[in-house]
Symmetry: C2
Subunit: 339 residues, 2 copies
Amino acid sequence: MNDLLLRACRREAVERPPVWMMRQAGRYLPEYRKVRERADFLTMVGTPELAVEVTLQPVDILGVDAAIIFSDILVVPQAMGMRLSVDDSTGPRFHQPLRTPAEFAGLRPLVPEEGLGYVLEAIRLARRELEDRVPLIGFAGAPWTLASYMIEGGGSKNFALAKRLLVEDPGRAHGLLSRLAKAVGTFLKAQVAAGAQAVQLFDSWAGSLAPSDYERSVRPWSARVLADLPVPSIHFGVGTGELLTSMRDAGGDAIGVDWRVPLDRAWERIGADRAIQGNLDPSVCVASWDAVERAATEVLGRAEMRDGHVFNLGHGVLPYTPVENLQRLVDLVHERTAR
Amino acid sequence: MNDLLLRACRREAVERPPVWMMRQAGRYLPEYRKVRERADFLTMVGTPELAVEVTLQPVDILGVDAAIIFSDILVVPQAMGMRLSVDDSTGPRFHQPLRTPAEFAGLRPLVPEEGLGYVLEAIRLARRELEDRVPLIGFAGAPWTLASYMIEGGGSKNFALAKRLLVEDPGRAHGLLSRLAKAVGTFLKAQVAAGAQAVQLFDSWAGSLAPSDYERSVRPWSARVLADLPVPSIHFGVGTGELLTSMRDAGGDAIGVDWRVPLDRAWERIGADRAIQGNLDPSVCVASWDAVERAATEVLGRAEMRDGHVFNLGHGVLPYTPVENLQRLVDLVHERTAR
């Protein structure tokens, strides 16, 4: 089996760094859009056969070194009782965001095998179909990022409602984060039991916070999730230049870093005893191949072939990215770095 | 005259740091909303009497130490020939974003006295009405931020089109940035001639870039704008933790910093020979007074009463901020820091 990802996360010697891409199963692929024509996004997520079909597409089409199960971080709050819609243009929306104490109290505890059995089934099925070609990554949203969506009702420019709860009513905020930490931890372990060989914790909105707020109110709950996972874990955020040391302290075998921090500078903050994942700007992948090549070469140069680098974008693949750019990018990482 | 802002920007000794707030003339004020009922946003911007009325409101209502002329950074591309609409819910939109070479070539050079005479008139009128109570700040958008809006057509989550131009066709990108640098530099000098006593350059979207792209393609044009201004200048961006040293190199007597970087750490990167402006999270100002007080006290603590600190938010005041929170915030900065 190609276990480069697992070895890189553990900072073991590798012939070359593994490469995969966040949202590598996505709308930029004609093969994905074909599945999407037959089913809406949440149906795809909720139907193991469809989820597995698109999970495997980038392994075949791009030649990446890992698959990530096709799903969405918001399935956790959905399984805790919140009604979710996902619209192509406006993104995900909860019909009834958390506002009143009763709404907070009304969340159901998560029993992954019941509420999220379809994700676990997709993982089992994907493992069978992958036949150990590459490792399968499971994932979940981190407590703060999930709480932000649940309070705001969807994406937000400034997360003012979620931050307000955090600074104004820490008791209620921590009650919610604690329940989410428990749910997410349980869910990740269930994914591992179903066959996930690594997991990624997406704290996509950690970077919206002042460092002191992150450290006081968010880090402890991410730490709880990451504390005793039986497989390599990747701890990811966006705009987290000032939080990298704190995120490392929270846990994760590899720390994800976006393109705003040069990879070598990020690694200094994370420390040599952790792996790093990143950090090509996904917007660059929309441009000409020359531009992609130049930016990817810079990332590889800054990684200096050190063990423990997982090549990835700094955030998800954009829908209008040319497939050929990503195919050539995978080839470039494979060729440039062969020892 | 209360010239604390001007002295702080020059790092001269001050009795206490000046405090003002970005978007302090805005929808959170009932008095502003009353003007807004009679005129839409662009009419307010384009009518000196209305612009001056709302410019002065926060000086009277909050007691801030500076006024900033009420306007919008997008008046520059508008005066260069681009049709602009501003909608309360969706934000600013250009009807015809720059896409084709002809559209790039079709931009008119800016003659501030002709295209933006209404801003200059508003500045003259505001100075008369302020009667030297506090300094008046003029402003403009930085070349990269303006170019992003002009290419994307409005706000954007990832600025993929603008970045694409930057990395794929540097020649055309630099042609646009060069024209904008010239326009913005001319405009800021015209504002100073009309009476602006300090200026702020808003590079709001600099933080979307990888540092190497900023340094190669953006910094030179901001440097050109900031090179020979006859009054104190503030160089502002959001999410710029990794760019602070580069932004300082580009210029500005004071460097703006958002809440993602602790103020003392930001000042280390900027260097002791520059002033700093920031850095309270505007989302916190929506919460209870206790939360605002705690966060403001942290900012003041990190500034350690050093000369050269301009107290401000890290970005603009949010529309649903309680006025009383900002009044108390100004009082707190005034009281805590009196020598």
